[in-house]
Structure formats: structure tokens, C-alpha cells
């Protein structure tokens, strides 16, 4: 059967599943809309968190990025998983015990101040919007590559689906669709990986195949290091970034993960404190399946690519090479006109440009897998993008209807009114996200780092100190958050957008990249919070009671 039909069937089936779940799990109250009623099983919540967390970027781009950067790519692997340890040990159980609906809820109550709440709402909105625009774009790109519709139509279809189940079901609908989406995306990611691992190394477990040898008896990683040296790239298993920068980026991504509101709210949906810990464990386990496979795929496809193209005649390239050439993901210019492909690190003699996304997207074709596997890959990529978009959408709508309207502007709004407001806010957010998906602002790629940096420099210290210290007061927390966010924004705008005089790599403070600067801004936040709190009066007895109370199981 034709590939196109398979893809329509896979996408159509998975979408009808999501819609079916949405109809079955309509939200009837604000508690259901914000936290799915608070009775989700920890394993289901773990799957939902994993799908929520793994975005289009994790699914499509990460393996490719690692494939091109080798050891340097480890920052994403460690950074995007290590944050769950912080969540499980330091945040999730206590926030669950606190038992409200949103992150600004906690900040506002713990620091007994609507100023603190507003700062938190502001940060939650910026972080979520920067993230969601990228997801909608991802949906459009997948549609256009696999189904040959244009990106705008793709984004509109994606918007329609998310709108339907997020607006109707709220967190309840999102949770159960995310469980289904996790199953779709992990299956789609693992089938080609297992197959390729077997093909290249004879071992069906990619994590082991990664460290095995190919048919010629040479270990894959040794072979790749050798190939890299020959072509002038830096050695695959060692890095090109400074150790300090790698350290700071990894720290910023870990802490940022633990401070992202759409991840934190998932832990409000379980029944009790011990379930919050359990679901963090399950979530990381489910994420680890993909995250330990990605670096293996990176090595398989990198070796495959170099061996297939390097110094080979262009005329003899396999069919997939030409197919991906037409999409613009592969590009070949025969600079010295010898008819061979020279792929080197030297930009003046290099003749091949490769987009990182191709490493996952073209994998099934390179390995000559059947059409239905390719169709599943398309459905998996869509599942990854939609599940993350829906989680973010909920944070945006609850920040508006709950934190802004209910807690600050109209405190006596009825339950029904709040639910309507939440649905209107969700609809508005989808439209805005769709607009940015169709007309992506040039800064989308740059702002993903900003989202993590902001989460690390604003929320994390405020939440952590709010739990582990009784002495921290509102003056400390508010000034800390403001200093952290301002510093982070300043550094990003200066070095990513060229404001405030701009600057190049040579001007980076201590040689730390904007991606890693979240760590420094976070430390500044901690210092300011602690110092200011010491100089101002301690919080009242009630607040200290609240802190004691959230520490009890």
C-alpha cells in the first residue's frame, strides 16, 4: 500500500483516539479542569508527565543534535533528565501536600503577597508562550513533510485537535490523552531504533548496541572517533565546549526543568504525597527509555551517514538521499566538480549540508523499514508536539482564569464563571499559539534556552526556599525573583538579540553561554533572597505553620 495512505491512517486513528478520550473525560468542575480531580494513578501520571515533557524537539531534533555534537550533546541528555531528581526530592511531594492548583498559587500564598503572585504569573506566561509557539510550528512541519499539505493547514489541524480536547476536558482530558500519546510516541521512536541497532550491531537493545562493534569487529564509537578525525571534526567522544560552560548549561537545564510550571502542575493531579514521589520516578523511567536510546541512534545514524556519503559519487546515492534533498534537509554543492561528495569540517571545502532533524525522520527509510513504521513515526512526532502544547495551554489558561481573575481581579467569581473563563482563556491561547506557529518569530529557537533560564532564575529558588526555610519572607522572594529574571533577560537580550551593545562569544561573562547563564542568574536569585530576608522581618506565625504543615507527609 502507498506510504501516504498509511500515514493518513496512522494519523487519523491516533487523532480519533484523542478525540474519543476527550469526550469520555469532560471536565465538570474547576478542580477537574485544573488538576484532573486530583485522583490520577501515579503510573498514569508518570506517562502523562513523560509525554508532557518530551516535546517535538526531544522527539525529532535531539538525536540529530547529539549526532552532530557528540559529547557536547550530553548537556541535553543529563540536563533534561536530572531535573526530575530535583523534582522528586525537593519540590513535588511538598507542592502536592500544599494542594492548590497552580505554581503562582504556591508563590502567592507562601509569600502572602499579590505582588509575588503577579511576578509568578508573569514568569509562567512568558515561559509557556515561548515554548508553545515552537510546538505548534512542529505540528505544522510534521504535517507538511509527511502529508504534503502546507504548514498553515498543518498548524490549523493541530490547533483544532488541541482546542477540542484541552477546552473540553481541561487537565482531565489532557492527562488521559497524554497517556495515549506517550504510548504512540515511544512505540514510534523505539521500533526503528531497535531495528537499526540490530542491523548495525546485531544487538536488539540500542543501549547495548551503542557500545558494540559493527560487522568489521571495530567498536562503533572508536570507528566514529576515527572517521571524525579523518574529516577534521572534533573527536566524537570528547567535547569542544569549555568544561565550565558544559557544567553551567547542564545545571541550568536541570534546574529549569524542575521549575517549569507545566511539569510542576502535573504533580498536583495525584491523590497523595507519596504518589507525587512515585509519579516523578515513573515519569523519569518513561523518559529515560527515549533519552538513553537517542544517543545510540545518534551514533548509528552518524556512522551510517558518513560511510554512505563520504567521498562517494553523487550519482550513486540511494533514493532517500534525493528525496530529502528536495525537502531542503540535505544539500549538496559540488564545489570542486569531481562528482564526489566531500563532507568535512572545513566550511570552504565541505560540499554537504545536513539538517539535524533528518537523523530521526529519515531513519526508517535509511534502514529500509516498511511503510507502516514510517507512518507511525509521523503519528509519534505529532503526539510529542500535541501533548506538550496541551500541557502548556493549561498553564496559560489557569494563570489567566485562576491566578489573575479568581485570586486578584474578581475574587467572588462563581465556580461556573471561573470554568467558562478558563475555557475562553484556553481558546485565546490556542489562537495566539497558532498565530506564532504560522508566523514564527525569528527568536523561537533562541527563546527555548530563555524559557529554561527564566524558570531556573525565577521559580526554582522561590519554591525551594519557600519549602526548606521558614525564615524567607516576601521581601526576599520578590526581590530575588526580580533580580534573577532581570539578569537573565538582560544577558539573553545582549548576547542573543544584540541589545545593550550586543557582544560576541569573546565577551561572555566568565565564558558562559546564554544557554548556561540561567545557573548564574539562579545563584544571584538565591543570594539576593537570603540577604534581603535577613534584613527584613520574618513571616508571620501562620506562614511558618503553613511551611511546617507541608513538610508532614
Amino acid at each position: 500500500m502507498e506510504l501516504q495512505y498509511w500515514i493518513w491512517i496512522a494519523v487519523g486513528l491516533s487523532f480519533s483516539l484523542y478525540i474519543g478520550i476527550a469526550i469520555w473525560s469532560r471536565a465538570g468542575s474547576t478542580k477537574e479542569f485544573y488538576v484532573a480531580g486530583g485522583g490520577v494513578h501515579p503510573i498514569a501520571n508518570g506517562m502523562a508527565t513523560a509525554a508532557d515533557w518530551m516535546s517535538a524537539a526531544s522527539f525529532i531534533s535531539m538525536a540529530g543534535i547529539i549526532s552532530f555534537s557528540g559529547y557536547d550533546g550530553s548537556v541535553y541528555l543529563m540536563g533534561w533528565t536530572g531535573g526530575y531528581v530535583l523534582l522528586a526530592l525537593l519540590l513535588a511531594p511538598y507542592l502536592r501536600k500544599f494542594g492548590k492548583f497552580t505554581v503562582p498559587d504556591f508563590i502567592g500564598d507562601r509569600y502572602y503577597s499579590n505582588t509575588a503572585r503577579s511576578v509568578a504569573v508573569f514568569c509562567a506566561l512568558i515561559v509557556s508562550f515561548t515554548y508553545i509557539a515552537g510546538q505548534m510550528r512542529g505540528v505544522g512541519v510534521v504535517f507538511s513533510r509527511y502529508l504534503e499539505v502546507d504548514i498553515v493547514t498543518g498548524v490549523l489541524i493541530g490547533m483544532g485537535i488541541v482546542l477540542f480536547y484541552a477546552v473540553l476536558g481541561g487537565m482531565k482530558g489532557i492527562t488521559y490523552t497524554q497517556v495515549a500519546q506517550y504510548c504512540v510516541l515511544i512505540f514510534a521512536f523505539m521500533v526503528p531504533a531497535i531495528y537499526i541497532s540490530f542491523l548495525v550491531t546485531g544487538n536488539v537493545i540500542p543501549q547495548l548496541g551503542f557500545g558494540s562493534s559493527g560487522a568489521d569487529g571495530v567498536y562503533l564509537l572508536d570507528k566514529l572517533d576515527g572517521l571524525h578525525q579523518e574529516l577534521g571534526f572534533h573527536e566524537y567522544t570528547s567535547g569542544s565546549k569549555s568544561m565550565l560552560d558544559v557544567f553551567c548549561i547542564t545545571m541550568a537545564l536541570m534546574v529549569g526543568t524542575a521549575g517549569l510550571p507545566h511539569v510542576i502542575v502535573r504533580f498536583f493531579t495525584v491523590k497523595k504525597v507519596s504518589d507525587a514521589r512515585k509519579s516523578a520516578g515513573w515519569a523519569l523511567l518513561f523518559i529515560a527509555i527515549l533519552y538513553t536510546t537517542a544517543p545510540a541512534i545518534a551514533v548509528f545514524s552518524r556512522t551510517n551517514l558518513i560511510e554512505t556519503v563520504s567521498n562517494q559519487p553523487y550519482e550513486q546515492m540511494p533514493e532517500w538521499f534525493h528525496k530529502w534533498e528536495t525537502t531542503g534537509l540535505l544539500g549538496f554543492i559540488d564545489k570542486n566538480e569531481d562528482g564526489l561528495i566531500q563532507y568535512t569540517a572545513n566550511t570552504t571545502t565541505n560540499e554537504l549540508t545536513v539538517d539535524a532533524d533528518i537523523m530521526v525522520l529519515a531513519n526508517p527509510e535509511i534502514a529500509q523499514l516498511p511503510s507502516w513504521v514510517i507512518a507511525f513515526l509521523a503519528a509519534g512526532a505529532l503526539a510529542a508536539a500535541l501533548s506538550t502544547a496541551a500541557g502548556l495551554l493549561l498553564v496559560i489558561s489557569s494563570a489567566v482564569s485562576h491566578d489573575l481573575l479568581k485570586k486578584m481581579v474578581i475574587p467572588n467569581i462563581s465556580e461556573k464563571g471561573e470554568l467558562i473563563a478558563a475555557r475562553i482563556a484556553a481558546t485565546g491561547a490556542v489562537c495566539l499559539a497558532g498565530y506564532f506557529g504560522i508566523n514564527p518569530p525569528g527568536f523561537v529557537a533562541a527563546t527555548v534556552a530563555l524559557a529554561f533560564g527564566l524558570a531556573a532564575s525565577s521559580f526554582f529558588p522561590a519554591i525551594l526556599l519557600g519549602i526548606f526555610s521558614k525564615r524567607i519572607n516576601k521581601e526576599g522572594a520578590i526581590s530575588g525573583m526580580l533580580v534573577g529574571v532581570t539578569l537573565m533577560l538582560f544577558y539573553m537580550l545582549k548576547f542573543k538579540f544584540g541589545w545593550f551593545g550586543g557582544g560576541t562569544k569573546a565577551d561572555w561573562w566568565f565564558g558562559i553561554s546564554p544557554e548556561g547563564f540561567g545557573s548564574i542568574a539562579m545563584i544571584a536569585n538565591f543570594v539576593v533572597t537570603l540577604v534581603v530576608s535577613r534584613q527584613t522581618p520574618a513571616p508571620s506565625k501562620d506562614i511558618q505553620e503553613l511551611v511546617v504543615n507541608i513538610r508532614k507527609p
Binding site: 547529539i66 559529547y71 550533546g73 550530553s74 541528555l77 543529563m78 533528565t81 536530572g82 526530575y84 531528581v85 530535583l86 522528586a88 526530592l89 525537593l90 511531594p93 543501549q207 551503542f210 557500545g211 558494540s212 562493534s213 567498536y219 562503533l220 564509537l221 572508536d222 567522544t237 570528547s238 568544561m243 558544559v246 557544567f247 547542564t250 545545571m251 536541570m254 507519596s274 514521589r277 512515585k278 516523578a280 520516578g281 523519569l284 523511567l285 529515560a288 533519552y291 538513553t292 544517543p295 511546617v548 513538610r551 508532614k552 507527609p553
Partner: protein, 78 residues
């Protein structure tokens, strides 16, 4: 009673977070070059920690904490 519960919890957290730091920042970043001199199968050890080992370590750390805290919670209920 409450105080011993909280103190024990803090001790678990300190120990487990030190492990968290060692498997990722320690083995995967700070001492990666030294560990890369050791080769196990096709992996240089430092590289393995950075791309595989740290993640397995994180999973183990969280499940250890779950186990320890469930036990601690039970003594609390008695």
C-alpha cells in the same frame, strides 16, 4: 517525633543529592577526561556516564528515595 521525621528526610535528601551530583557533574563533566582513559566494552567510561550512566543513576536515585520515604512514612503512622 515530627522533628526526627524531617531530619531523617533531610539526611536522605543530602546523601541522594550528593550521588546525583557525582554521577552527572562528577563522572560526566568534571572527571570525564580521567574516566575516558578507562574503556569498558566499546565505551569510554566518562562518555558513557555523560550519555547513559547518569540517566540510569537518576532513575535509581528516585526509586531509592521512594522506597526510603515510604518506609519512613510507615514508622510515622504507627
Amino acid at each position: 517525633m515530627e522533628n526526627t521525621y524531617w531530619k531523617k528526610n533531610l539526611r536522605y535528601i543530602t546523601i541522594l543529592l550528593s550521588l546525583w551530583f557525582i554521577v552527572s557533574f562528577g563522572c560526566g563533566i568534571l572527571f570525564v577526561e580521567q574516566l575516558n582513559n578507562i574503556q569498558i566494552g566499546g565505551f569510554k567510561l566518562g562518555f558513557w556516564f555523560a550519555q547513559q550512566g547518569s540517566i540510569f543513576g537518576f532513575v535509581a536515585i528516585i526509586f531509592t528515595y521512594i522506597y526510603l520515604m515510604n518506609k519512613l512514612d510507615q514508622t510515622q503512622n504507627k
